[in-house]
């Protein structure tokens, strides 16, 4: 990832944090004093930190204009970009939660696992349909029957 995109990310982050800090401060100061001393102090501190970070990023931006772009080859342990697959999985997970309410936990879990495996390119079609059944059975045995840990309920199973 090159310095230019890193800097853009830093600028976006600072702007988001500034807006968030100001919103939190606005809400904190709207509550009665006796119940909001702590959030007020935190929001002020967050605003100060946001401005400090803004200063650091502004300083880096000025430095960057005088330096060449360098491509970094350092491998990051965390996400270095937001991928289409990640967004899709996230949205599908949201739909899964909707499905739990209506179809029920086990049916929606089966559909979710089978669909996600298919979407991510798992090639063994038989295993793709058998693994969700095995997992749901394991979950029922271990959590519902043995440990009496409740699972989400919907209209159906």
């Amino acid at each position: 990832m090159n310095n230019d995109s890193t800097l853009k990310k830093e600028i976006s982050f600072v702007l988001i944090m500034l807006i968030l800090a100001l919103c939190l401060a606005w809400f904190s100061f709207s509550y009665p004093l006796s119940s909001s001393v702590y959030p007020r102090a935190l929001s002020v501190f967050l605003v100060i930190l946001s401005f400090c970070q803004f200063g650091i990023v502004y300083f880096k931006r000025s430095k960057h204009k005088n330096e060449k772009n360098q491509n970094s080859q350092i491998r990051d342990f965390a996400a270095s970009f937001i991928s289409k697959k990640s967004i899709t999985i996230y949205v599908l997970s949201g739909i899964y939660l909707f499905g739990i309410n209506t179809l029920g936990f086990y049916i929606s879990t089966y559909i979710y696992i089978a669909f996600i495996s298919f979407y991510l390119g798992y090639k063994n079609k038989i295993a793709m349909f058998i693994w969700p059944i095995i997992l749901c059975s394991l979950i029922w045995c271990v959590f519902s029957w043995f440990l009496h840990v409740p699972t989400p309920e919907g209209i159906f199973f």
Binding site: K9, E10, S12, F13, M17, L24, F27, Y31, P32, S34, S35, S36, V37, Y38, P39, L42, S43, F45, L46, L49, S50, Q53, I56, E67, Q70, F77, A78, A79, F81, I82, S83, K85, S86, I89, Y90, S93, G94, Y96, L97, I100, N101, F105, T109, Y112, I113, I116, S117, L120, G121, Y122, W131, L135, I139, F143, L147, H148, V149, P150, T151, P152
Partner: protein
């Protein structure tokens, strides 16, 4: 002391405790071995499973997961050159070259045995240091507890790889999240938006599951490279035990380093592994081997990172200050069981706390045979396709989040927290300070409110108390020092980056 230790041994050797420890160890080794799954996620996902259990058995299982997952990262580090857990990054440096030379058995055996010794050493320290330290907690009042919670956050923010300002911002956001819900004294609702499920605040375990599980799932699916070239583990493990004994001084030093690092709130297993590795290299007569398959490199990293486990539980059990993110989740587990860390925990429920500590001995011994067996079949495990693993983890995250309050809204909360965690990774903001802020926030606000009441509602008296009480002064000095160290570290790394460019 001996009497309590015997109570603990008896509790740890109960059938239910041993079974739960064993299950925790198996789960922990598998979780640690699979890249993308971390100790934090494993413990967070399994907390709801402990609800219906005896507290000792439940904590024993979580302790087993913690010990074993810290070690389990070495397996994929050595066989695959991919650390299963962040602390195993250092193990890859010399572990993988050893495996390439056909010495995978030697590397894994040393990693396993070294982890066992390091873990047992730190558990001994926990057993003997924690009770007297718990008595010191009696000297702490509201002022000291408030400053202690701030110290935990400043230390963890300063030790993060990213900038200290980002760490402090994350910590502050975590504290803010703990403010959601009812004020502890006045009962006024804050930041709930009129939503009833937020009245009691954001559930800690739901937030932790969201922060740590969902981003890993999203990272996994974004980086679906095939794990080719998994080396097979060969060799008989116990024949390397004599070789480990020949490095007894190195093992002892690394155990001490790991334990001390674990005790310091905020410093984690990866820092311990790096420090121990550097020490091993400094003291070695064959420095040129380091980076090309030095067995001392593997021993030092693994011994120290497992020694962190016991050390990190010392400030947690005695003062309620987590040593790292995993012990922060343990705090959540204790609170869910109705147990509050501190002197009362040791005084009123010795069978639980000593039983838990003694079960850590059992866990450190059990992961040796379990680790050897799983390592032998690791090449199959490590080929688990992400397309099956990712949705499976999501399902467990759903079960774990629902089990806390049987509330569908908690699942949406988990999803939102997951997005927050993922965005934090995207913007290179450390998550650990936020977790600590969330964990300590309720305590810190409550203690600040109490300190304010004790100061007769006078800000002047409150500040005067902060700067005149000896323990408070020490805590303020330590917080300032840790922030300064963090700033210095950021400045030095910026200068180094500019010099390499």
């Amino acid at each position: 002391m001996i009497h309590n230790a015997l109570i603990g041994i008896f509790a740890a050797l109960q059938f239910e405790s041993i079974i739960m420890t064993f299950l925790g160890v198996v789960a922990g080794v598998i979780i640690g071995c699979l890249p993308g799954l971390t100790s934090v996620m494993g413990v967070a996902l399994l907390i709801p499973v402990t609800f219906g259990m005896d507290p000792t058995a439940g904590l024993a299982m979580l302790g087993g997961v913690y010990c074993a997952s810290t070690y389990g990262g070495a397996i994929s580090a050595i066989l695959l050159n991919i650390p299963g857990t962040p602390s195993a990054c250092v193990t890859t440096i010399d572990g993988y070259p050893l495996a390439l030379k056909g010495e995978s058995g030697r590397a894994i055996s040393m990693a396993t045995l070294g982890s066992c010794v390091g873990g047992i050493f730190s558990t001994f320290v926990l057993l003997f240091v924690a009770p007297p330290l718990a008595k010191i907690s009696l000297l702490f009042s509201a002022h000291e507890y408030f400053l202690l919670s701030l110290l935990g956050i400043t230390i963890i923010a300063s030790f993060s790889d990213q900038s200290v300002i980002k760490g402090l911002m994350a910590g502050t956001l975590g504290l803010f999240m703990s403010v959601v819900g009812m004020h502890p004294m006045t009962g006024f609702m804050r930041f709930t938006g009129g939503m009833a499920f937020l009245v009691d605040g954001i559930p800690l375990v739901v937030a932790l599951i969201g922060f740590f599980s969902l981003p890993e799932v999203l990272n996994m699916v974004a980086n679906t490279e095939d794990r080719k070239g998994v080396l097979v583990y060969t060799g008989h493990p116990m024949k390397y035990f004599k070789e480990l004994l020949s490095h007894w001084w190195l093992v002892f030093k690394c155990s001490v380093i790991g334990t001390i690092i674990g005790i310091i709130p905020g410093a984690g297993t990866d820092i311990a592994a790096f420090l121990a590795y550097n020490e091993a290299k400094r003291a070695s007569k064959e420095k040129e081997l380091f980076g090309n398959g030095a067995i001392e490199g593997v021993i030092s990293a693994e011994t120290s990172n497992n020694a962190v486990v016991g050390g990190s539980l010392v400030p947690l059990l005695t003062l309620g200050i987590p040593g790292n993110a995993v012990s922060a989740i343990f705090l959540g587990a204790l609170l869910i069981q109705g147990l509050r860390p501190g002197f009362e925990l040791f005084q009123n429920t010795p069978e639980i706390v000593y039983g838990f500590i003694c079960s850590m001995f059992v866990a450190n011994i059990l992961f040796v045979p379990v680790g050897f067996i799983i390592a032998r079949y690791a090449y199959k495990l490590l080929k688990t396709p992400v397309s099956l693993l990712a949705p499976t983890i999501m399902v467990f995250a759903v079960i774990g989040s629902y089990a806390i309050r049987n509330n569908m809204e908690d699942l949406w909360l988990m999803l939102i927290m997951g997005l927050v965690g993922y965005l934090m990774q995207y913007f290179s903001v450390p998550v650990a300070p936020m977790v600590l802020g969330l964990v300590l926030g309720a305590m810190s606000e409550g203690e600040l409110a109490r300190a304010y009441a004790l100061s007769n509602d006078s800000v002047y008296v409150l500040l005067k108390d902060f700067f005149t009480r000896p323990i408070c002064l020490i805590l303020i000095a330590l917080s300032a020092f840790s922030v300064w160290q963090g700033i210095k570290k950021s400045l030095v790394s910026d200068i180094e980056k500019r010099e390499t460019l």
